[in-house]
């Protein structure tokens, strides 16, 4: 009986006009397009300058900011009002205002008349932009003091008298803070979750819509056999997608998994069980594809936003953190990143396996119980 049901599912999959192509396109898109699109690195901040000083010193400061590579000089304005208008029109993200007495004040050490205004409509972009600008100003001052110290050791006294704390940073696991490397395991997580939750749900609902499920229900096919035969093709597709993604990440970006590949597949298997269970569960409660699509979409958004893929879970409020414990994607994403980036093994991340297994058992048993052959 199993043989014939599986044969049917695979034949239907490969005959579908869209599904096989989608299975091929998905890993390619995920690995070649999305890593660039979801990058959180802030670049190309549009900077407007109000230079009241128009001196050599002020142009050196501006030069320092532009040469950092993070800013794009939009315009050097004559008045603060003109700069604000640029910001209002969304042409400038940040404004640096240099006072008319800048050169003189810096030379005498009387002050540092520089103001920063940042557009924080996008909070992250704004606050990171402000940090970059401050860093640029610090660099400018350091260089200037170093130059001044060389010329005149007298003015350098105050600086050298202060204790100097040198903070040096060392980054582990992703030494160049490469956001693409950080996102690649997470994108695999999202892709596999989509495939394994969407496709089986729509599959069952389409059998409901054509009435073929009724025909299966009057046969001696057991609930378990029918559900498992539905799941197996999606296991196969997910492993194909996972393998293709890893190969593309290696061939195109030169990224390799630091941990044992076996663990990636193990955690993927656990996630697939959870997601296939969820997909079937949803399809059991939906009578048409539209309903099923909407419910899955609803879950997919919650899963992604509360998984720690885009924002760290540790910085969520306590109640939100509590919700993430019920989110299978939280465990799967954490495990995939740990294995891929850090080389962890299940010994270190056993809790991810436990979380997935617990949710998976609940989902699958519920799915099987709710797929009632004998409805009321």
């Amino acid at each position: 009986m199993w043989k014939y049901l599986l044969e049917k599912e695979f034949k239907q999959f490969f005959r579908d006009p869209g599904l096989p192509r989608m299975a091929l396109m998905f890993p390619v898109l995920m690995m070649l397009v999305f890593p660039f699109a979801v990058s959180m690195e802030i670049r190309n901040i549009n900077l407007a300058v109000v230079d009241g000083s128009r001196s050599l010193e002020s142009s050196r400061l501006i030069e320092e900011c532009i040469s950092s590579g993070y800013f794009r000089l939009v315009e050097v304005c004559d008045s603060p009002e003109e700069a604000m208008r640029l910001m209002d029109d969304n042409d400038a993200d940040a404004i640096i205002t240099i006072g008319p007495d800048f050169a003189a004040d810096v030379a005498t050490g009387a002050g540092f008349p520089v103001g920063i205004k940042v557009n924080t409509v996008n909070g992250t972009r704004g606050s990171i932009g402000a940090q970059y600008l401050q860093a640029c100003i610090r660099m400018y001052l350091q260089e200037r003091n170093a130059g001044a110290a060389g010329m005149d050791s007298g003015t350098g006294m105050a600086a050298s008298a202060a204790p100097v704390i040198d903070v040096s940073e060392k980054y582990y696991f992703n030494a160049y803070l490469d956001y693409k490397l950080f996102m690649i395991p997470a994108l695999i997580v999202i892709g596999i979750t989509m495939i394994t939750a969407f496709l089986p749900a729509l599959n069952i609902v389409s059998e409901k819509e054509t009435g073929t499920i009724e025909q299966i229900n009057v046969t001696p096919v057991s609930k378990t056999a029918f559900i498992i035969c539905k799941m197996i093709p999606y296991w196969a597709i997910s492993f194909f997608v996972l393998t293709a993604c890893l190969l593309i990440a290696w061939a195109v970006f030169g990224y390799t998994c630091r941990g044992n590949l076996l663990w990636l597949y193990l955690y993927t298997t656990l996630d697939i069980i959870v997601m296939a269970g969820l997909g079937l569960l949803i399809s059991n409660y939906s009578s048409n594809a539209q309903q099923a699509m909407f419910v899955i979409w609803f879950f997919a958004v919650i899963f992604m936003l509360m998984s720690g893929i885009f924002t760290p879970i540790a910085s969520m409020p306590d109640w939100a953190q509590a919700i993430t414990y019920f989110n299978p994607m939280r465990y799967y994403a954490d495990a995939m990143r740990a294995v891929y980036l850090k080389g962890s093994s299940p010994l270190e991340i056993w809790y991810d396996a436990a979380g997935l297994a617990a949710i998976g058992i609940a989902m699958v048993s519920w799915a099987i119980a709710s797929y009632r052959k004998s409805s009321d």
Partner: protein
């Protein structure tokens, strides 16, 4: 006296306050063509789903093919065939693959499936269409194929839920020839229909009104009882008493 293969007593199905099937009782003999008539909403689909093991009765008892309708649903399923008004084959599988799938589900071996496939294709005259997708066949052919597939495991009873909906009279007549062939092979045929000319072909018919069986007899006796010229008039008289809205 022929044995009864379907034996139903006081069968009742309630959905909340609504009584879809209200204490019906009847017997169907082996090899009989039993017509199950009723307006939409009269409860005939609900009753049929219980007989096929798809639904459990709220009250009452009965057996189908010798198995209890409450506790032995899986055994019933193995011994009946079912074809519904919705064309229920897989449109993206070929004719041959559909036969193979359902043969396999009912536990036939590969060799048996091959023999069965050839036999079915010969009878239907569909050898040249065997590798066509079932979804691409004309409706009349689909129905005949669906009927043959419902019979693939040689069940003792076959349930047909409005099997000839939407086809021309000629195609319906040929479909009924298949039903007669099955009945000659001692297969019990339990059929619901909208077409009153088809009711004339049945050995006995029951007419359901408001969840109850309002009449049950052979078409000839029903016609004389209600002084009607044909089954259409009989049905009009009986169904006209319905109190329940559709």
């Amino acid at each position: 006296m022929e044995e009864n293969v379907i034996h139903i007593r006081n069968l009742t199905k309630k959905f909340g306050d609504f009584t879809a099937v209200d204490h019906i009782s009847f017997d169907v003999r082996r090899g009989e063509i039993f017509g199950f008539l009723g307006a939409n909403g009269a409860g005939k689909t609900t009753a049929m789903r219980i007989l096929c093991g798809l639904s459990r009765p709220t009250e009452g008892e009965g057996t189908v093919a010798g198995y209890d309708i409450c506790s032995e649903q899986e055994k019933i399923k193995r011994n009946i065939g079912y074809m519904s008004q919705k064309f229920s084959l897989y449109p993206d599988l070929t004719v041959r693959e559909n036969i193979r799938l359902f043969g396999g589900i009912y536990g036939l071996k590969d060799r048996q499936i091959r023999e069965k496939t050839d036999a079915v294709l010969d009878v239907l005259g569909m050898q040249s269409e065997r590798d066509q997708f079932a979804g691409a066949l004309p409706l009349g052919w689909k129905q005949k194929l669906a009927f043959s597939i419902a019979m693939v495991h040689d069940p003792g009873i076959i349930f047909l839920d409005e099997p000839t909906g939407g086809v021309d009279p000629e195609t319906r007549r040929r479909f009924w020839e298949m039903i007669y062939d099955a009945a000659e092979r001692r297969v019990t045929v339990f059929v619901t229909t909208h077409y009153m000319d088809e009711a004339e072909y049945c050995d006995r018919v029951s007419v359901m009104v408001d969840g109850r069986i309002a009449a049950l007899d052979s078409p000839d006796r029903l016609k004389s009882e209600f002084h009607a010229g044909n089954m259409d008039e009989v049905f009009g008289i009986i169904a006209g008493r319905a109190g329940r809205e559709e």
